[in-house]
Symmetry: C2
DNA sequence: TAACTAGTGATACTGAGTCCCATATTTGAC
DNA sequence: GTCAAATATGGGACTCAGTATCACTAGTTA
């Protein structure tokens, strides 16, 4: 890694930590891009060279998460249908995220979302992208184009994971994530399976 | 209705039609609020008195739709679970929207969304509000607080309805909406029901 | 060291959204 | 009808996000 690239990743991280600190302290909307840049010892122009929008700082890691999903999904056995595959991938991810720092990190972000409606709106947009990504991953695994079942499986799985995140956060990170996940998937099956 | 209120609803509609025409002609992002106001023969300030944001013009009718959902859901028999209740409500709504002008109207909006990514983003935000609304309606019907099953049912039902809208629009409004709905709900049941 | 490449900062611009104040218009009471 | 209170409108100034341009500086390569 060249000196130039080193500097770039350092600047990127400096901007990110500065932004998140200010968002936490003063709130997302009451923080201006100028302040973030000043805090990071860099010009406003430079901020926008690293991040296309003010919100994008918060979702920086989210894109990586999409990649993680894709890999876990690709590994699921062929006999599973898209819904089961995504369920399996989420369970695997849940186990993983306990050991890595991922769980802690998402806990801190959750606080930000709770306090800043504007960020929740951005998350909604982001969610649509993630659905598309997961649906694509599920379709790739089946070796065909994205069908309704892939979209449905991606959507349902992501809502479940959102509910898990919320409930886990609400409990102060006390609940067992894996059990929570299983429980919610069981709820989905009970809701959609029994009737008719 | 007083003369004042008459004028207000007229101004509101004038603004809406002016905005939608400009969005269609020049695209959402290339249309400024100043242009919309000028087109409607009103000042910029007045525009913002009627609509809080530029996008909100497009989603004006969406809020009404939420109310419609709520009413149809409240009417579902008590023995149905939240998922079945929402399915029933959507089927009823589908029948209704054929006869009323609703179907045609949503077809026109769909074109707007297809051509304007910025509007699709706003729709994603809007969707979260709708989920909350439907979940609340489903919970009210059960006479308790919003539980995970209400959120899940609302979410799944809304994705299904979105898929219906897309596919119906893609077919040039040729497909039978009711059949499409039944088909997609069947897909959900097949996905989540059979396994394990 | 020289020449090239790529990141940075300053400045100016557009457009959304907010605020405030002066001026019309409508309403209700007389 | 007239007048005063209530309310809608318009104008103008302001903040801030996001874009574009250009001159400048630091890193890379030979």
């Amino acid at each position: 890694m060249s000196l130039r690239d080193n500097k770039k990743t350092r600047t990127r991280e400096t901007l990110r930590t500065a932004a998140l600190r200010l968002f936490r302290e003063k709130g997302f909307e009451r923080t201006t891009v100028d302040e973030i840049a000043a805090e990071a010892g860099v010009s406003r122009t430079t901020f926008f060279r690293y991040y296309p929008t003010k919100e994008s700082v918060v979702f920086d890691r989210g894109r990586e998460l999409g990649e993680v999903f894709r890999r876990w999904i690709a590994e699921r056995p062929r006999k599973e249908n898209p819904f089961e595959a995504f369920e399996g991938a989420l369970l695997a991810l849940a186990r993983e995220s306990q050991s890595s720092g991922l769980a802690q990190e998402s806990l801190e972000l959750e606080e930000l979302f709770e306090r800043n409606p504007a960020l929740r709106k951005s998350r909604a947009e982001h969610r649509q992208e993630q659905i598309a990504l997961v649906a694509q991953a599920l379709a790739d695994r089946d070796g065909g184009p994205v069908e309704a079942e892939h979209r449905l499986a991606a959507d349902i799985g992501l809502v479940v994971s959102e509910l898990v995140r919320e409930q886990w956060h609400a409990s102060g990170a006390q609940i067992d994530v894996e059990a929570l996940l299983r429980d919610l998937f069981a709820t989905v099956r009970a809701l959609t399976g029994a009737g008719r």
